[in-house]
Amino acid sequence: MTFPLADLVTILPELIVVVAACLVLALEPITPPRRKDGLAWMSVAALTACFIVTASGMGDRVGAFGNLVVVDAYASFWKLLLYVVSGLTILLSIGYLKEERIDLAEFYGFLLLSLAGMMVMVSGADLLVIYLGTELMSIPLYILAGFKRFEARSIESSAKYFILGAFSSGLLLYGVSLIFGAAGSTRLADIAAAVAGRGLNDPLVLMAMMLLIVGFGFKVAAVPFHMWTPDVYQGAPTSVTAFMAVASKAASFGALLRVMLEGFGGVRSNWTGLILGLCLLTLMLGNLVAIVQTNVKRMLAYSSIAHAGYALIGLVVAGWVGTNAGTVSQGTSSMMLYLAVYALMTVGAFAVIAILRRGGVEGDDLDDLTGLARQHKGVALLMLLFMVSLAGIPPTAGFIGKLYLFMGAVNAGLTWLAVVGLLFAAVSAFYYLRVVMVMYMREPSPEQARATRLALSPTAVIVLAFAAAGVVIVGVYPGPLVAFTSSAALP
């Protein structure tokens, strides 16, 4: 069997990422320790090449391999976002891995493999391809979560992530097998035809849809499938946590949106109620439980659950009964905008935690931030910016993201949902601003002041500057990003 060259050109970015990952893994053993940074820079170069290829090829929908994989503006948007997040994670990790004494270049290889899986997920137009993408994304992430292998916490988080990740993949795959029985194919287009013909009267379709929603619910950490998130995010190395919280969530949302709209679009009136329930539960539990957390990484984990709840508002709007094509694309584009904004501020917040050291270990407790503003004004100011943005206070990017989500909800006739979202945003301000309060209003004890140190490598400075600039620029001048997401939205 042969493939036309055009198909390989279509998936060129995926090929670049996989080849770069294999090169990193192959060169790692023969690279002298002080030259390991070179492999990180090689990974960044590969990502830059992918960025150029994807950005220059943006446009019409192109299918490859008999339409198993499609590249359209929607997929390209997610890929560009994923390249940026992966690049920032690698830059952050260069200094962080040295600080934690785990500077093995395999890290970058696994990160790139995981990225390749995410790219397959957002490009897949066949459920089996999407499943393979989720597995390729998850398996390297299990390893990365346990990368601090001398630390029991990290291994434990890795084991928990593995068990629940494999469990959710099992549910997802069973859903795929049932839909194969109902439609005779796993292509999204064939599924749409079968769903349009028989609807949910076919128990196979109904079961399959539920299993797919549950499987993706685990991947995006929606309540009640979120229980792994806080443990895994707290135990994993901080740069990996940033990558999981942002990239794997974005890719899962990208795939979920495509499956629900292109595969199950015919029964959207049936699944929006279900997604709405998940959305409300997620908003409520994520925001309320975040209040009582004393560890910043764990608090950010609950905050990431809450943000998944906000992003689900976009899916509800896109599927809401009686909406016209305009609100569908408004729902998807506002979700894309929200996740892009969320990526910037979350990477920034985790970067601050990653560089903060307290007596040789990571300073990830809320107490470790005490009086940070006195010793390290710049970093405290950046953390303030990220927290304000996460809370959704203008003039930051977080405000713009929430504004467009709520506008979409109001246009779809879901004003009450926008009000609920707004109320929980007010709740979230409490725990985000508490971090600011601890940094600015509390006096550190002398021992504490002595033990605090910033492991600020030049590449971490780039990450912080990029995230902060992004949060401010999108906050005051959102036009270009908004136009970009609406042009790339699914119809």
């Binding site: 398996i139 346990g146 292998r149 494999a166 795959l173 443990d231």
Partner: protein, 101 residues
């Protein structure tokens, strides 16, 4: 003799349920891993049965993909379990309390 496809679906449903319940109630990590494998194999029964039912070879190809992915997953999973055992000298999920489960 032709066995109707429904019989296979009942079988796969039962195997899947056994796996599902196993993951939820057992506390030994190896048993949980085996239960996850049961869930994946229930999927394979479905794929093969539907493939024969439709006279469509795609289902059998899917089984190869599912098997390969499951093998990769188990390789990583067992490595993680060994690393965990080195820290805790136990593979019982009730013993892992460093992070609130």
């Amino acid at each position: 003799m032709n066995v109707p496809v429904e019989y296979y679906m009942v079988l796969s449903g039962l195997v899947f349920l056994i796996g599902l319940v196993g993951v939820l109630v057992r506390t030994n990590l190896i048993i949980i891993l085996l239960s996850i494998e049961l869930m994946l194999n229930a999927t394979n029964i479905n794929f093969v049965a539907f493939s024969a039912h439709f006279g469509n070879l795609a289902g059998q190809v899917f089984v190869f993909f599912a098997l390969t992915v499951a093998a990769a997953e188990v390789a990583v999973g067992l490595a993680i379990i060994i690393a965990l055992y080195r820290h805790h000298a136990s593979i019982n999920v009730d013993d892992f309390r460093l992070l609130k489960w």
